[in-house]
């Protein structure tokens, strides 16, 4: 202990340099964490968060009693998480391998640069673009009419939105996501490929026996990092792109967009606070489990 104090004193300059970040996180992350106790309180604006009366588990009872809403947003959140993780990661890897194997390097670089661009467009702007395609006189309906088909009123038909949001998300994120995998591929020793070629391996065999296995550690990290966010969603995608339209909730409402909507429209926060706590706790438990499992199997790939 004395050694520790001595060491900290010796490094007092370093300690002082840490203070700004320590304070920002204290006030903007840690104290709000304590604010999550709202889940057990009935919010009274005049008394503030800390003074509001405790109501025990009432909020959670409401949450469970709401049945349909609760199930719907949980199921949707998990559904989109699974789709985005599986499809997104596969496409990231596919694009990365495709560009890596591409002989025309300059063209490949240009393609990659363009693919990344969509990630820089905020969902507040993306919603206008989606509307230009799916609005009543949007591109897609124009094409449908051109082909002699009936135009579809996308914004009142919930059944299409799982696909629509998936396409938008892939458009937005795949180019960006592939960069990480590209960097791993660039690090593979080219001599391995040459050796394989000399031994008579064809392109497909090289990909399955050299390229894909070398991507496993990175894929594990990506999946691990995403597990903690299993209950969280890209709020903008679900709130902005769907224009927060109630007709579409059955396929588009996720926990995050539900909470944002509650914040914007009501002042009955207890219920949403319960949903938020549920979201955070599930996320934390899952990432701890996932990390534990990975550490058992392949310690090097664990997060912590």
């Amino acid at each position: 202990m004395k050694g520790f104090l001595h060491n900290t004193w010796k490094h007092r300059a370093h300690f002082i340099m840490c203070i700004p970040v320590l304070l920002v996180l204290l006030f903007f992350s840690y104290i709000p964490m304590a604010g999550m106790s709202m889940a057990f309180k009935r919010f009274d604006f005049s008394k503030g968060i800390w003074g509001s009366p405790f109501v025990g588990l009432d909020n959670f009872q409401f949450l469970l009693a709401s049945g349909k809403t609760f199930t719907r947003m949980t199921v949707n959140t998990l559904k989109y998480y699974a789709i985005f993780l599986i499809l997104g990661t596969s496409l990231n890897i596919a694009v990365a391998i495709a560009i890596d194997q591409f002989v025309f390097k300059r063209l490949g670089k240009t393609f990659q640069s363009i693919m990344i661009i969509p990630v820089f467009i905020s969902y507040a702007a993306v919603q206008f673009i989606v509307y230009a395609f799916l609005g009543n006189n949007g591109m897609v309906n124009n094409v449908l009419q051109f082909m002699g088909l009936e135009p579809i009123r996308w914004y009142i038909n919930a059944k299409y939105w799982t696909t629509i949001l998936t396409v938008v998300k892939m458009w937005n994120g795949v180019g960006y996501g592939s960069v990480l995998f590209m960097s791993v591929l660039a690090g593979i020793d080219q001599e391995m490929y040459e050796a394989a070629r000399i031994d008579g391996a064809n392109k497909r065999q090289q990909i399955f026996h050299i390229t894909l296995p070398s991507l496993i550690p990175m894929t594990t990290i990506v999946i691990l990092l995403s597990v903690g966010g299993i209950m969280r969603s890209d709020t903008g995608l679900f709130y902005q792109v769907t224009r927060n339209s109630g007709i579409l909730y059955s396929t588009t409402q996720v926990i995050d967009s539900y909470i944002l909507n509650a914040l914007m429209t009501t002042s009955a926060y207890g219920f949403s606070a319960a949903a938020a706590l549920y979201q955070s706790v599930v996320g934390l438990v899952l990432i701890l489990i996932a990390n534990y499992v990975v550490r058992k199997i392949e310690p090097d790939n664990a997060l912590f």
Partner: protein
């Protein structure tokens, strides 16, 4: 040995020539996917320069019958508000990015000192908020109800200024790319820790600061959620909030006049027009599109550093 070298060089020569049919198919697929990424952005640009009445009657098109600058003229009718919003967005982007880079790189520097025993605690301290975030609701209540910061630009700046991932990127860069000997010799020459950091380490961190800075700047530029939750006054609306307000106006018009042919005509004369909206979108996303090519190199490097565990 001689044999191996020569066979290798033969392979290399052969590899260079190998542009078989497969490569052209790959080019086609990648090209199509790139087009898929590009088309929506092209539509924004084309619509912004299209004649509004044509869109209203014939719908959006990549090949408008008539080009027009009306959309941009209309943007200037949002006029003052657009300029104010630009000012707000630029302000929070610049202040936030520099503030964040400044405090995070100092923290990362301390974290990279291997003999600093306190660093274990520091690592945990930044890891916990990532694993157990309070979430938007608790944030909202604490910021507005306890801190009384509602409608303050501080809420657009500070919460986004520190992120665990960025600190890890900065720390990894210091550990791997800046030799310890350099810092040691500075200390031997009598430079204190502050001087070592600001005069020796910080200048050498330029590449990583550029990449982290660019990522932070886009996060600030694109942040709509904090603005939507916290900002009320028009003079404090950033660009993204302006976009949301415009959309709300359109919605209002649509909901008032049940979508029909007559309504389309009404909207045509009404406030938000197709080309004007897209022109606004273009003015919002434009600056990042322009900055991106300059930062691309750093940006990709930054992503790569972040993936190295240290």
């Amino acid at each position: 040995m001689q044999n191996v070298i020569s066979s290798r060089s033969i392979i290399k020569v052969r590899k260079k020539k190998k542009k078989g049919l497969g490569q052209y198919i790959l080019a086609l697929i990648l090209g199509l996917y790139t087009l898929f990424c590009l088309m929506p952005i092209l539509l924004v640009i084309i619509t912004a320069f299209s004649d509004d009445k044509t869109i209203a009657s014939k719908g959006y098109s990549y090949f408008p019958d008539k080009w027009s600058l009306e959309g941009f003229k209309y943007v200037f009718k949002y006029g003052r508000q657009l300029f104010t919003s630009y000012g707000v967005t630029i302000f929070i982007t610049i202040v936030g990015t520099f503030f964040g880079l400044f405090i995070m790189s100092m923290f990362a520097f301390a974290l990279s000192r291997r003999d600093f025993m306190f660093r274990k605690f520091l690592s945990m301290y930044i890891l916990i908020p990532m694993l157990f975030p309070a979430g938007q609701l608790a944030n909202y209540l604490v910021y507005t109800n306890s801190y009384k910061l509602k409608d303050s630009l501080l809420l657009l700046i500070i919460p986004l200024s520190v992120s665990t991932m960025n600190i890890i990127i900065l720390r990894t860069y210091i550990q791997t790319s800046i030799p310890d000997e350099l810092m040691d010799s500075a200390r031997i020459d009598g430079a204190g820790e502050y001087r070592t950091f600001f005069q020796i380490v910080a200048p050498l961190m330029k590449p990583v600061l550029a990449s982290v800075g660019f990522m932070m700047a886009t996060a600030y530029w694109n942040d709509w959620q904090n603005a939507l939750l916290y900002i009320d006054t028009a003079s404090k609306n950033p660009l993204q909030l302006l976009l949301i307000r415009i959309q709300k106006n359109i919605e209002f018009l649509l909901n008032n006049k049940n979508i029909s042919g007559a309504a389309l005509a009404a909207i045509q004369q009404g406030i938000p027009e197709y080309s004007a909206t897209m022109a606004t979108v273009l003015t919002v996303i434009g600056p990042i599109m322009i900055a991106y090519p300059f930062f691309q190199k750093y940006f990709i490097k930054g992503l790569t550093i972040g993936s190295v565990k240290g």
